[in-house]
């Protein structure tokens, strides 16, 4: 056996434990899901090619769910960014109590989605503390409906609460790697803080900002337990419908078609990110 071949086999064997695990238990089930949406694999019954599950998706009911999921995905990612970005800019500077802020703001990062949902639900419910304080301060005169509302405000609040530190950690890592001399040079040339932020910090953090937006979009778009608990019954998101059609109606093919919609959307978003990040990197 030639040395080259031996080395290749060694590489393959080393790759196998980690990458092989993902291949066997993520990629194959993923393919099975897509095949089941065309009726080619049937987990309960006979199989045969069909597009019936996809023509089912033409119903308004499903397009509303798709638009609602997009809204949740976009609202969560940009909503989180609107807080995470200023937070990063503040933490970068010398603020008193920086250490404390630095560890406290990360708490939601490790709080499970289920608990985060339940915690915020308790606070923002019509009879929760948030409405109570606003009522006592006479800011509103009747409780705001923030959970199970048809705009999904509750879902967005939980997603934003949970994802601000997630985005901030990613963006901060990129921001910290920006050459300090560049900022000093700009300051010496008379640039104010605002123009340093606008012309140096934000453009150079763009790769991190994009990753942060994409990851939160996908997590929120494909998230299941948060909309199930705090979202309205109608409209609802694609993952919730997928769960219902598989677990409650036993319609695996339709569930597969809905899963395929999530998969294709995620892949398109990642592909879009790749195009964009090539532009950003020049």
């Amino acid at each position: 056996m030639s040395r080259m071949l031996k080395e290749k086999i060694a590489l393959l064997l080393l790759l196998l434990p980690g990458a092989g695990f993902i291949l066997a238990f993520f990629v194959l089930p993923l393919i099975a899901t897509v095949l089941s949406s065309f009726g080619l694999i049937n987990f309960a019954g006979e199989s045969g090619f069909t597009l019936a599950h996809y023509s089912e998706l033409k119903k308004d009911f499903y397009s509303v769910a798709f638009i609602f999921s997009l809204w949740i995905g976009l609202g969560s990612s940009f909503g989180s960014l609107m807080i995470a970005l200023p937070l990063c800019l503040i933490i970068r500077e010398k603020v008193p109590g920086k250490e404390l802020i630095n560890s406290l703001f990360k708490i939601p990062l490790v709080i499970p989605a289920l608990i985060a949902t339940y915690m915020l639900m308790t606070v923002i419910a019509p009879h929760g503390l948030f409405n109570l304080v606003l009522l006592k301060l006479n800011i509103i005169d009747k409780p705001l409906q923030l959970i199970q509302d048809k705009w999904g405000i509750g879902i967005l609040l939980v997603q934003i609460w949970k994802n601000v530190p997630f985005q901030a950690v990613i963006i901060l890592a990129v921001m910290e790697s920006i050459n300090k001399e560049l900022i000093d040079a700009a300051r010496n040339l008379g640039a104010g803080s605002w123009s340093i932020i606008r012309h140096i910090l934000i453009p150079l953090s763009m790769p991190g900002i994009l990753v942060a937006l994409i990851l939160v979009f996908i997590r929120a778009f494909g998230g299941f337990e948060i909309p199930l608990l705090i979202g309205p019954v109608y409209p609802t998101t694609i993952p919730v419908l997928m769960y219902r059609s598989a677990m409650e109606d036993g319609n695996w093919g339709l569930a597969g078609a809905l899963a395929t919609v999530i998969i294709v959307t995620s892949i398109l978003v990642i592909a879009g990110y790749n195009r964009l990040s090539q532009k950003v990197h020049g």
Partner: protein
């Protein structure tokens, strides 16, 4: 007196006080939004069932440990806790062992098709887990892994594997080739190089990956829910059932705190010992 205060106020604004005011307001609101829900949860877990927490009260009028005692008397709660907290370290160790060789190859070798494998390793992060949950469930069914503890462990490993591979890969990348070459020049065997150079240098990465793995294993819900309930309950699936069929706010609060205290503690521990770049390399740039 008043004019002087006014003057001082104007001076404050001129010195960039507006910006400072904004920063303070921002940070205060952020910290309130994080801390208040936690406090509300502690209060709910401590209410007195005789008195309760009635609507227009800002805080409960009486406290008791009733629900904590009740919680620990329910057989399923200590059982779920024991399961969650034994599975998490097992998942962490197994994931570390499986990820290590793969991360070594991805971090230090170049070969045809590497990009493809890197993308594949990322898939569990960039494609929502629910899309595989159902077919994984039926594959596990056929393999006899449904409703078993090894099944839960494997499902958790799947969710955390990409994070582990990525953090360890980036630590492998950072090891200077000179160190390895020097060891070989001095007559070290590949095994010695692995034992005395690669493994010690990659430890921080493994540790950082382990923090992720531990936390994500404790919080994993979707796959556990589909694969293991009702035979086995982890703390999150138990919490889910408390939020659904028999909703009890005090009980749900107490269970949540049981998960939160150790995970927040793990976070602070990790913060103390790890540099920020380790935490972010798990999902930083693609």
């Amino acid at each position: 007196m008043d004019t002087r205060r006014g003057a001082r106020y104007l001076w404050f604004l001129k010195q960039g006080g507006f910006r400072r005011l904004f920063v303070w307001l921002f940070i205060t609101l952020l910290l309130i939004s994080i801390v208040v829900p936690l406090i509300v949860m502690v209060l709910w877990s401590l209410i007195d069932p005789q008195v309760g927490w009635e609507y227009p009260d800002l805080y409960p009028k009486a406290f008791s440990l009733h629900f904590w005692r009740h919680l620990l008397s329910l057989e399923e709660v200590p059982r779920a806790m024991a399961l969650s907290f034994t599975i998490a370290p097992v998942v962490t160790i197994l994931t570390g062992i499986l990820a290590l060789p793969t991360a070594y190859v991805l971090g230090r070798k170049s070969f045809w098709g590497k990009g493809l494998i890197e993308i594949m390793v990322l898939l569990p992060i960039i494609i929502p887990g629910i899309t595989v949950a159902i077919s994984l469930g039926s594959i596990f069914n056929r393999l006899g892994l449904s409703q078993t503890i090894p099944g839960i462990i494997m499902a958790h490993m799947l969710v955390v594997m990409p994070y582990m591979i990525r953090t360890v890969t980036s630590t492998f990348k950072a090891i200077p080739q000179d160190v390895i070459d020097a060891a070989y020049d001095l007559g070290a065997s590949p095994l010695q190089v692995a034992k005395y150079i690669l493994i010690p240098l990659v430890m921080p990465g493994l540790f950082a990956g382990g923090v992720f793995t531990f936390i994500y294993s404790i919080e994993e819900f979707v796959l556990t829910f589909i694969i293991a309930t009702p035979t086995y309950q982890t703390v999150p699936t138990l919490l889910f059932s408390y939020l659904g069929y028999y909703f009890s706010r005090p009980l749900a609060s107490a269970i949540s705190l049981i998960i939160l205290v150790p995970t927040i503690f793990t976070l602070f521990l990790a913060e103390k010992f790890l540099k920020a770049e380790y935490l972010s390399s798990g999902f930083g740039k693609f």
